[in-house]
């Protein structure tokens, strides 16, 4: 438990940070070993990843439990609350920049590298000498580059599942906001209903996305190997899907915490942090829908 020190709250020592460092190390060490292993000798790396990953889950559980207990004990004053808020906001900003790298890759390949390979602009000589018969195009019939890497493929039509997913996420942003207002008004039943709806919508989104991937792999021959189109498509939607999955789990935990009565009308940073995160994955999706699916 932390304690008040003079005018400030300073948390006491905790073993969770060092545990976190160890399990993070185990996870990536296992992953690196596994990626570098000769075919047929993957056992060791996989075991280490598994141990590390389970460790990460336990660490999150333990660390958050101790923080929640401190919060419930009323140890966190307004200043601590502000620090948490800043921490979450800047964390989301760092996530925005992470997605920015992949959006940058998407824009660059679409605007520059693929057209240049097709002979546009200063790519004219590259085209002539190396890829004379490549006609630049994005999507089917060109998006996997002059080498036709991964073979011919079809793209996912935007107005089917992706549109549905857009509506799902937009709705979920609305439901989480309603839940937030209900929380501030002190209507716990309403919070549970609308937050529960949000979790459900998140889960449906993930399910639909998995379905879309299956279809892409089995019927459209659109895979991670489909040249740079497949690379950008799956890396962007994949990282986004991962974030939705995490967000859904976080929302579910918040739902349980609402059920347990952890939040009061004016003291519910955990709820708000997860809601911000949810809006963030929503906005990223709008970018994806626009630039990956429609345009």
């Amino acid at each position: 438990m932390g304690q008040q020190q003079g005018a400030y709250f300073v948390p006491v020592k905790s073993y969770w940070p060092i545990v976190a460092a160890v399990v993070m190390f185990l996870t990536v060490f296992g992953a690196a070993h596994w990626l570098n292993a000769e075919p047929g000798e993957t056992g060791f790396g996989k075991t280490v990843i598994t141990v590390g990953f389970i460790g990460i889950l336990l660490m999150f559980f333990g660390w958050f439990r101790s923080v929640i207990n401190e919060s419930l004990a009323g140890k966190y004053d307004a200043q601590v609350d502000r620090s948490f808020r800043m921490g979450m906001m800047w964390f989301i900003f760092s996530e925005v920049m992470f997605f920015g790298a992949f959006f940058g890759a998407l824009f660059y390949t679409r605007m520059f590298s693929v057209p240049w390979l097709g002979g546009e602009g200063h790519g004219v000589l590259t085209h002539q000498f190396l890829w004379g018969d490549y006609a630049a195009a994005w999507g089917a019939g060109g998006g996997n580059g002059p080498g036709n890497i991964g073979g011919n493929f079809q793209t996912v039509a935007p107005w089917g599942l992706p549109l549905l997913n857009t509506l799902i996420l937009l709705t979920s942003s609305v439901t989480v906001t309603i839940a937030h207002h209900a929380l501030k008004a002190g209507h716990r039943g309403k919070v549970l209903v609308f937050l529960g709806l949000t979790v459900l919508l998140g889960a449906v989104f993930v399910y639909a996305q998995a379905h879309e991937y299956m279809e892409a792999y089995h019927e459209l021959n659109l895979t991670l190997h489909s040249g740079v189109y497949g690379s950008t498509f799956f890396m962007l939607t994949g990282f986004h899907g991962l974030h939705v999955t995490l967000g859904t789990i976080m929302l579910a935990i918040i739902w349980l915490r609402v059920l347990a009565g952890h939040f009061s009308r004016d003291h519910h940073f955990g709820f708000e942090a997860v809601a911000w995160y949810w809006h963030f994955v929503d906005v990223v999706w709008l970018g994806l829908f626009m630039f990956v699916y429609i345009l």
Partner: protein
């Protein structure tokens, strides 16, 4: 007095815990974590330095003498990675940890447990990175920039990529902590425009870190998937482009070099006024210049890629944008000089390092300006001129500032004075040999000697031998540094005063030396004349 009573124990948690494990592994104390960072940094400095010694030994004379070419390339790559991510950046984070709460009158960092995690990720990340030296695939050897397709041939790419991910997570958490501390933990009355320039420089640096470390993580993730999962980001046959990697990498890389110099600017802006016994000249201009440099750092990245075949419009834009940086940088240099002008100067070791910084960093800045010119860069690109340039800004810039800061605040940390005599010996050895080491490399580069190659034309022999001799002596001089620090921490008999330096202003000098385990448990009352820059007028 500004400092509150510091030893009113309510319970056992208050003082420095006696248990070694709990104190250092589970710490939530900004001073202990700062110390850990600084020790880690010094260790990495010597590891990375030993790699540099291998490089200079091989280049001592033409022909292949000591090492295999591949190992040489491993050394250049690992030297850079260890020095950047292990020595320079953790040193600044350590200094920030120690000094920012003391300078703004805060009891600790805003998020002390995350602070501990930020540090403890680092040793593990370096175990991962350094272990590649002993693995069958060998260490990364394609340069610290890890350009594909070369880097994709490295057997142990995954280890390097994951190590970079870990370092990135550590840096982002550290930066978030620093921003939250500065924005949320300042003592009442410590307005933003009364903060020491060092605090300002770290606020802006932290923003840069959060903005660009994720971009690096994205870039190396694409390397990882290109190598192991069959993506085509950097494969032209699949519609990708190796140059795309360079764009993403340098979008991170250029702000990164400012991450390694802005806190140095802050340090120099603290030290120069102290030993000039004058307030800093143009406080607001200094803050504004740091912000301007940070802004410009986002729109100049392609100056690292002039020779790669960019469209002409891009070359011209990035050339002019790069040259623009010399305006705010020039403001800073002129303001440091103006601060000294008419001051009553004394030349203790921190001041000597600070003055050397101003002169030698400016040389590095000028060679940077030469490199910014597209037509000239076609000649200089990938030569030793570039090596000379960035070592002037990183060694005599960043590293000298870190040494200056160490001498400046070491008495505050340990409560004992370092040996001024040995400090000065260390300074003069460093400043002479670093120039013997790097100055000839300008000429080598202008004459066309390429970087990252273990052998060279006999025409380059003399300057290389001079440079290597300088390198060995500079490396040896740093042992004096380690000796001075260890002596000061454990053996020095001379007690330090609370206000260690006569002309020093700022809250950190109002607490006892050594700074007690907990400081400012009650917010200090701020008197403007106590502050480093409290007299700033609107």
């Amino acid at each position: 007095m500004a400092h509150a009573a510091t030893h009113d124990h309510h319970d056992a948690h208050h003082g420095a815990p006696s248990n070694f494990f709990t104190r250092w592994f589970m710490s939530t104390n900004h001073k202990d974590i700062g110390t850990l960072y600084l020790i880690f940094s010094l260790t990495a400095f010597f590891i990375g330095g030993s790699f540099a010694m291998v490089i200079r030994a091989e280049l001592f004379k033409p022909g292949m003498q000591l090492v295999q070419p591949y190992f040489f390339n491993e050394m250049t790559t690992m030297h850079a990675l260890v020095m950047i991510f292990g020595a320079i950046m953790p040193a600044f984070v350590g200094l920030g940890n120690w000094m920012i709460p003391l300078m703004i009158g805060a009891p600790d960092m805003a998020l002390p447990r995350m602070n501990n995690l930020s540090f403890w990720i680092l040793p593990f990340a370096f175990v991962l990175l350094l272990s590649t030296l002993f693995l069958p695939g060998g260490a990364p050897a394609g340069g610290w920039t890890m350009y594909p397709p070369l880097s994709l041939q490295s057997g142990s790419l995954a280890y390097a990529v994951f190590a970079i991910h870990l370092m990135g997570i550590s840096s982002i958490m550290g930066a978030i902590n620093i921003i939250a501390t500065i924005l949320n933990m300042r003592a009442p009355g410590m307005d933003l425009l009364k903060m020491p320039v060092f605090v300002w420089s770290w606020l802006i640096t932290a923003f840069l870190l959060i903005a660009v470390m994720p971009v690096l993580a994205g870039a190396v993730t694409m390397l990882l998937t290109d190598k192991y999962f069959g993506t085509s980001f950097f494969n032209a046959a699949g519609g990708g482009d190796p140059v795309l990697y360079q764009h993403i990498f340098w979008f991170f890389g250029h702000p990164e070099v400012y991450i390694m110099i802005l806190p140095a600017f802050g340090i120099i802006s603290e030290i120069v006024p102290t030993f000039s016994r004058k307030p800093i000249f143009g406080y607001k201009a200094m803050v504004f210049a740091i912000a301007a440099i940070a802004f410009l750092s986002f729109i100049v990245w392609a100056h690292h890629m002039f020779a790669v075949g960019l469209p002409l419009g891009a070359e011209i834009f990035f050339m002019y944008a790069t040259m623009l940086i010399s305006v705010p940088t020039g403001i800073k240099v002129f303001n440091w000089v103006s601060t000294m002008w008419g001051g009553s100067l004394t030349f203790e070791t921190p001041m000597l390092f600070a003055i050397a910084f101003i002169i030698l960093f400016t040389i590095g800045g000028f060679s940077g300006l030469m490199l910014a010119l597209v037509p000239a860069d076609f000649q200089y690109h990938d030569t030793y001129f570039v090596v000379a340039h960035f070592h002037y800004v990183l060694v005599t810039g960043a590293a000298f500032a870190i040494m200056a800061a160490t001498y400046y605040w070491l008495p505050k940390w340990t409560g004992q004075m370092y040996s001024e005599f040995w400090g000065k010996v260390h300074f003069w050895c460093s400043v002479i040999f670093v120039n013997v080491l790097f100055f000839p490399q300008h000429f080598l580069g202008l004459a066309g000697m390429p970087r990252r190659i273990p052998d060279y034309n006999v025409a380059f022999a003399d300057f290389n031998m001079i440079s290597s001799i300088g390198g060995f002596l500079f490396g040896a001089s740093q042992l004096i540094f380690a000796g001075v620090v260890i002596h000061c921490a454990f053996f020095s008999k001379k007690k330090a005063a609370d206000r260690v330096w006569e002309g020093a202003r700022g809250l950190e000098w109002t607490v006892p030396s050594p700074a007690p385990h907990h400081t400012f448990e009650l917010p200090p009352v701020i008197h403007d004349d106590e502050l480093a820059h409290g007299h700033v007028e609107d």
